[in-house]
Symmetry: D2
Subunit: 415 residues, 4 copies
């Protein structure tokens, strides 16, 4: 059922307003940018998920003086009402949920045609097209930011070939990002997705977490906090030792397979759970993936292990009958916190987009000095985001006294 | 859109099958009852929520030899497809989702007219009608079970007046019930309901739990496990001390009100959060109730504190604008784990209905000896349910050796 | 080296003063008793451990108006300097560290000869002698208190034979006692004793806790808090289930024996760890007992399992060489929190002796109404101790409003 | 009382044997070194704490073929019986507990005179003297290791001036070191030291941890695990945010001062607690320092705040009377885990000395390639220590399959 434009825009504004309420860090940055106007006269092009949170980021950059052009980084995540609201407010926003590849590409080109001084990417599409097809657009470009690991791989590839023509800030490698996005964000939302899909009682269960990186640590922590026994599987000795020192059991996956009630893969690798594991899992075991791609659970192997067609027993649960036992796969092995939950809490996006906004400001203020290449988020930006988040929590902290600062320097120097 | 009977029944059977998969304790009881047939020749009448889990209970009792008559304890929770499946399988099952009061009463009477030897109640409707309107039905009655606190209050009222004519087993006061239903079940599902309604990131937040009974303890434990700081408010000194000894902060509600991001009431009392608390809560605070009735948050007081009409900002979130701050009420103050989540995990219902089944068996085997009155679940039944749950987890435990049993007795007697 | 009397008394006074600093609950009771003088004109006889904490209890009772006579409940725990301080202050205190049985008995008789109106026992010696040898002393006796399980067994034996002639308050069964003494007190101090004896790093270790009663729960909680994986062994299904629901692994002892690094018995039973367990324990395993008697680890069985004489490798660690592996027994299998640690923290004694003081007051105010028999600590006393402990923590809590109290009553009555 | 040489050596051997039992990682390295003999023909000089654990390290290096010369890094920690055992076994070991500065210097020179190919330092004394006074000794030197931060500051100072003549491995900056030494080691032992000094019950208390680096995190974790509420104070926004996200309260020190029962400083800075904090601390507050130097608590300021001479109320507790309140300082403000506890558990030393042994082997195998300068512990060494520690725990882990290794490389390269 179609919604008329004005009504759609009104819906979008309500949604944006709610998102703003959840993004205090970005709000405080917007307030400062509105005062200082460091982006006055500049054009910012962004290819991001077209959501209410992105609208809040756009609003902060506009408050700083930028003229904006936006397009969608993924047609599946576009919120049409948000686009409508942006357009109604005069922002050059492109995208429609479910648009086809041509429409998508047109959106990217429209942003590039707006001749941005700074770009924001979520997958390196703007910078990719600029380098591949519109090199003249690179001349005025101060630099860009990138939000994803995949995008960084592309851009670092360019840099390795000596072809990257501008500074790029690796926003998703900021420490606050890791903490909020991977550790606490996905830690919570992966468990949340599993509960929404299955309504399992976690207390008393055994959860096997395969992979103990930032995200795996977060999931293991939250699973324990929900009352589960947690077993960790790792191929890296140092990470395995850390898991053991945190009080988790650590063992090979095939041994854990026989013990677990719930399995979560989060390794970044493929076939972490395969036929040899399926063969020993207990009846009713639940399999979920929290890694980026749906290759961590060997889906063809699972299908081959089954004696009958898989069937959907709950909206997000597919049951595989192995003859003597049944296994339950969540969300077809796709990333469970997005597929079965609501994805990242707004507090996570608040931190990401606060870092984005400050990274843009950093490029504008210091871009010339940075040089072409992929750069980490400056420590100052990380500290500032942390400081603003503490302020949003209402938390104050001490500062070093003059004597303490001297002592600290002195100790480092004089000893 | 109407579904044809056979198809509805098929849907119901699928749902029942899934539920059975989640109820290993009840399954093992059913297997034993099928062997021993202790209910052969008896009629069992049940007025329960007509859900897939209840169908599993019915199946266990039928396996034990009982002839069943079922009616709904609440028209809002009836799963029509489950009723259809039961009817298709020849069970006398009554109820339709959203049926009116007359239809509801007719269901109760139909069960009573089936002349049950044992009743199962969820709110004392069967026993209530039997005592009030069909006293002749009491003569053949061996006894009944009751699942709710409210029902027990009614039945104990009858008993206090000397009018209760049969033994009643207080199923919901079993220790396994408390553990699973209140502590772990609601502990998890209340938090789950809050997350589904709001998608908040719990890490770093301050949650205020008002009431530190079985359920409050469960919620506090799970909130901490999700990374929140937890503040407990209590009026009972012993409970308050226990909370403090568990490492929670304890303080008066009005003081906690100024600190909390999320508030959960679970006291069993009224107006636990009122205007004096709303007046000091921070902007964006979330208010939820996990107590049985929607009186714990003073809703008229909240409305009176607002300067504008409340508005729904998310499906389960109503925002109250207090002028300088906005407060977010979840699920209109109704019990959040049911209203915003999926209610109790099947593992919880497994324990409840296992206790129900064993309580029915106990009545049949020992009813004559019990005498009229409300009786606790026998320790044997509690132990048996615990034993079966451990078995379902695949957990074995030791038994006392002969020498140890003697030592234990000896110590108790001889010292 | 002998210390002169006045100097010894001064030492004792310093020690008592320090203890008072740690006993805020008892201090506040003393202040009230000094105001109200409910014990004026009464004689109180106490057979307790003659320690600084006991001196504080005596001081509170004296402040309430009582005349005191004290003797030691155990020659091994007597602090001579405390006795000296009491005597110097005019209190009739008897006992000397290491005194022989005759001297000990003389102390008990001296207290009885003081014709107490109320007795305090730690092992039922005063009440035992009164009933067995000085029945005339029972006539004036209002009642007594008892601090130990062993003493209660004796007194309940008397009661079962119809021979108990006065009311006795079972102080150690108060809920605050259980919480502080067993759960938090021994929970912490047992772990503390193990660390002092061995200096083990707990993180990464597997601790097996045998017995999951109040104390076992406390030890398991603290071991997990120190970073250990915890396995629980239990013979009771309900307790085993609770352990599992708390996220602990539960298994038979012989299976746990092969996994554990540290073993703690706390069952109240004998031979919980025996040759079949020793046979599979890993090299270097540490064995400790936190139960009352040194029978929980089968010491003869351990000796028989060894291929050589045991030898003391650290002050509190005896190593048994089993040929292929070595096992380390702590404190000769005696209760590890006392034998290897400092026993109960003063905060625990504060709660115990606060309960003692209020129990004495309760006997004096209501003794006639109580009747002969062993009585639980009144709920009022438990609540008052909890209330005072909260006050000592500086914690305030809410009270029910009039409307809430009415609602609570109304709900219980009217529904 | 003097012990005769042979008897002293026997005592030392027993102590070394016990230590070996606690050092499985070092034992397994010794076994491999004995097989491979990579140090054959080399001389190793070590200036370390002369303890049983050091003797185990010496034994591992000797097994690898090295000829050893040892001297003490600190006369206060020398275990004379260990030196006696080493000497009796033909090792050139120098040092005596409490020896004067001349004797100490003679020990260092004796080791240097042994013309070591590799040095091990705990404070840079060997390398310091070699560079300052015996530069000819540097010619044959392959390199050295350093165990302390202080030593590294000295050596990096040398390097900054271009004067460091050999490669130095910064052993204490290895990840396993941080994890075991700072996080888990000091985390446990600092709390342990506080409990030994005071016998406080931690449950229900509020502990304030000032500083949230590796060690502060460990202490906060363990204090929470012991049942305390934990408040964290930090001057660094990122660390403060991490503490908050872990569920700790974060606030300025002066605000925390009014709330805490126990205070632990671990900042590496001075005057973290001073008169403005003492002025608001509650009566009976306990002050401890877990930082390296005794400057973190402002001791002159504490003395100046007192109205009377401080007095020792327990062996490690000095009480300061502030008039209206008394504060209790532990161990004179010196590092509490060493001063009031037993310092690092053997498991910590096992990891440190395993890293030392592998670092020595690394220098021998790759020293020429390293170049002069302070080098981090190679990742390989860290991984190997982690691997061996897991093996000592009996933990096995998976390895990447060929396909997975290819996927991992492929993803990094191709994307």
């Amino acid at each position: 059922m179609a919604t008329t434009g004005p009504r759609l825009a009104a819906e979008g504004r309500a949604r944006i307003e709610w998102a703003e309420g959840q993004m205090p860090v970005l709000r405080s940055i917007r307030a400062r940018l509105a005062d200082e106007r460091p982006l006055a006269g500049l054009r910012v092009g962004a290819c991001l998920h077209m959501t209410a949170e992105t609208a809040c980021l756009a609003s902060a950059l506009a408050a700083g003086g930028a003229e904006l052009a936006l397009c969608s980084a993924n047609p599946l995540t576009t919120q049409d009402e948000v686009v409508a609201a942006l357009v109604a407010d005069g922002v050059a926003a492109h995208g429609r949920r479910g648009e086809d590849a041509d429409a998508y590409a047109a959106g990217v080109l429209a942003v590039i045609d707006a001749a941005p001084d700074v770009t924001l990417d979520d997958g390196a599409d703007l910078l990719g097209v600029l380098h591949a097809a519109r090199p003249d657009g690179l001349e005025r470009l101060i630099g860009g930011t990138e939000e994803t690991t995949t995008g960084l791989v592309r851009l670092r590839g360019l840099a390795a070939e000596g072809r990257l023509a501008c500074p790029v800030i690796a926003v998703n490698e900021a420490r606050t990002e890791r903490l909020f996005n991977d550790h606490y964000g996905t830690g919570q939302s992966a468990l949340d997705g599993i509960l929404r899909a299955t309504n399992l009682l976690m207390a008393g269960r055994t959860m096997v977490v395969l992979g103990y990186g930032w995200t795996g640590k977060g999931i293991a922590l939250r699973a324990r906090g929900a009352g589960a026994q947690v077993i960790v599987c790792e191929v890296d000795a140092m990470r395995a030792l850390e898991a053991r020192m945190e009080g988790f059991e650590v063992m090979p996956a095939v041994q854990a397979a026989a013990r677990g009630d719930v399995f979560v893969t989060v390794t970044g690798n493929r076939d972490v759970l395969g036929p040899e594991h399926f063969a020993v899992m207990p009846d009713g075991a639940v399999l979920a993936n929290a890694g980026h791609f749906d290759v961590e659970i060997d889906l063809p192997g699972l299908l081959a292990s089954a004696v009958a067609e898989p069937r959907d027993v709950l909206p997000l649960v597919t049951q595989y009958d192995l003859g003597d036992r049944k296994l339950n796969l969540l969300a077809a092995g796709r990333v469970v916190n997005l597929a079965a939950g609501q994805g990242h809490p707004a507090a996570v996006m608040d931190m990401s987009f606060a870092t984005q906004a400050l990274a843009v400001e950093h490029l504008v203020r210091n871009g010339a000095a940075l040089g072409a290449g992929v750069h980490p988020v400056p420590t100052d930006v990380d500290q500032e985001v942390a400081r603003l988040k503490l302020a949003a929590f209402g938390v104050r902290i001490d500062a070093l006294s003059v004597a303490q600062a001297r002592y600290k320097r002195g100790w480092q120097v004089a000893h």
